[in-house]
């Protein structure tokens, strides 16, 4: 706890993040390369879906990330509201766009997968619908923060919203499932393909890890930028080399 507080001071966090970012970029790149290799050259052609199924290697990780990131945001928010550390707010708003991006990618890749598989870009399947709603929740969060100009207020409002959201996400997901089963589902729906070859699983996992690394790297970059914007009038910022450098 103690050193959490220590590192949550922007002046200490900023350089630390600076060191971490390159590491995570390389990690993301390497894992991404392996993942792509597996997904295109190792993984065999699928029996029913031919080559089309290879979309799964980004679709599923993207879907997973989109959900994870929202939970992480909620976690930071809780931290922020309880201990009100400035860092947590910055992290939350740094994560949101990336989460929205992954939600979008899940929808996009899903749609592009659905067309050949189901002959429809979109079906009102439970999982699809709840992903769409999750996307809305991200947009709402970003919209709210953008609409408040005092950053401290924006943080706290955003934090509260993401907590309210995270309480609701399971309820929403559950209710959507219920809704879908009530109507015996759309004509097609995501069928757990019987035996997902272990190479497939590996591919998805490695891709997922690469996405993780990517998320952390981007979030840290954005968080540092936000720090610069918010702490612009503080001493430690003025003494940063990148500031003094070109000045």
């Amino acid at each position: 706890m103690i050193n959490l507080f220590k590192y949550s001071a922007p002046s200490t966090f900023y350089p630390l993040a600076g060191k971490l970012i390159p590491m995570f970029w390389t990690l993301a790149a390497v894992l991404g390369a392996i993942g792509l290799y597996i997904s295109f050259f190792v993984a065999p052609t699928d029996a029913q879906q031919g080559q089309g199924y290879r979309i799964i290697f980004i679709h599923v990780p993207a879907s997973w990330m989109s959900m994870f990131i929202y939970c992480i945001m909620a976690f930071w928010s809780l931290l922020g509201l309880t201990f009100n550390t400035r860092l947590s707010g910055m992290m939350t708003s740094a994560l949101a766009p990336t989460g929205a991006l992954f939600a979008f990618l899940s929808l996009w890749t899903g749609a592009l997968w659905g067309k050949p598989m189901w002959g429809a870009w979109w079906v009102w399947d439970a999982r699809l619908t709840s992903e769409l709603i999750l996307f809305f929740l991200y947009i709402g969060f970003i919209a709210l923060q953008a609409a408040i100009d005092d950053p401290r207020r924006a943080d706290r409002a955003g934090a509260l919203l993401s907590l309210v959201g995270v309480v609701n996400v399971p309820i929403i997901y559950f209710s959507v499932k219920w809704w879908n089963t009530l109507h015996q589902g759309a004509s097609v729906s995501l069928t757990k393909s019987p035996s997902m070859a272990s190479t497939m699983l590996w591919g998805m996992l490695i891709m997922a890890l690469s996405f993780w690394a990517y998320t952390i790297a981007v979030a840290l970059m954005r968080a540092r930028t936000i720090m610069l914007e918010r702490e612009a009038n503080t001493e430690w910022v003025h003494h940063l080399p990148e500031v003094k450098g070109a000045a």
């Binding site: 809305f136 919209a143 509260l160 309210v164």
Partner: protein, 224 residues
Amino acid sequence: MPVLSAYFAALHRDLLLVMRRKTEVLTALFFFVIVTTLLPLGIGPEPDLLRKIAPGAMWIAALLATLLGLQRLFAADYADGTLEQMVLSPEPLSVLVAGKITAHWLVCGLPLVLLAPVIGLQFDLPTDAIGILMLTLLIGTPLLSLLGAIGAALTLGARGSALLVSLLVLPLYIPTLIFGAGAVESYIAGLGAMGHFSLLGALLILAAAFAPWATTAALRISLE
């Protein structure tokens, strides 16, 4: 007992304001009616089609009607400084907020419940289905007011607009919508609606316990 009297003060004041703007009492109602009337105009008059979508459509209309009321829930008080005075009141803010939420429901929620049967008949729903519909609305609309209040409080002072509130609140409304409309449909389908009701009730209890508190927190945030 001052706490109670504070609650009723907030409630009474908001109702008084609505009464002053006489039309406002009816407008939530009319909006509900008009939207439900637009539907046949938009999608054509086949009776079975209409009967099929009636419950869902009416629920969505109710959702939007309460939504419109929400934007005014705190915005006006914020603009004229009343909210400040409420924060400065020795009485707990959450009590005053609860009063305002109640007022909102009495104005934007309850009338819809009472009017639902008429609309239901227009779509020629079976009478017992209409009973179910009213019941779901009766449990559901307070839920909408409670959840909506959080969104309204969060968007205060945010340069956001009417639309921002909807953006935040509508996703939260989805479970209510699903269980509300679902209840009627599954009843019509002969599956009974007990499950839906118990779920709606649970949500309502959850929200009643949780929402005023969250709203208060949101208000404090938006005001500081």
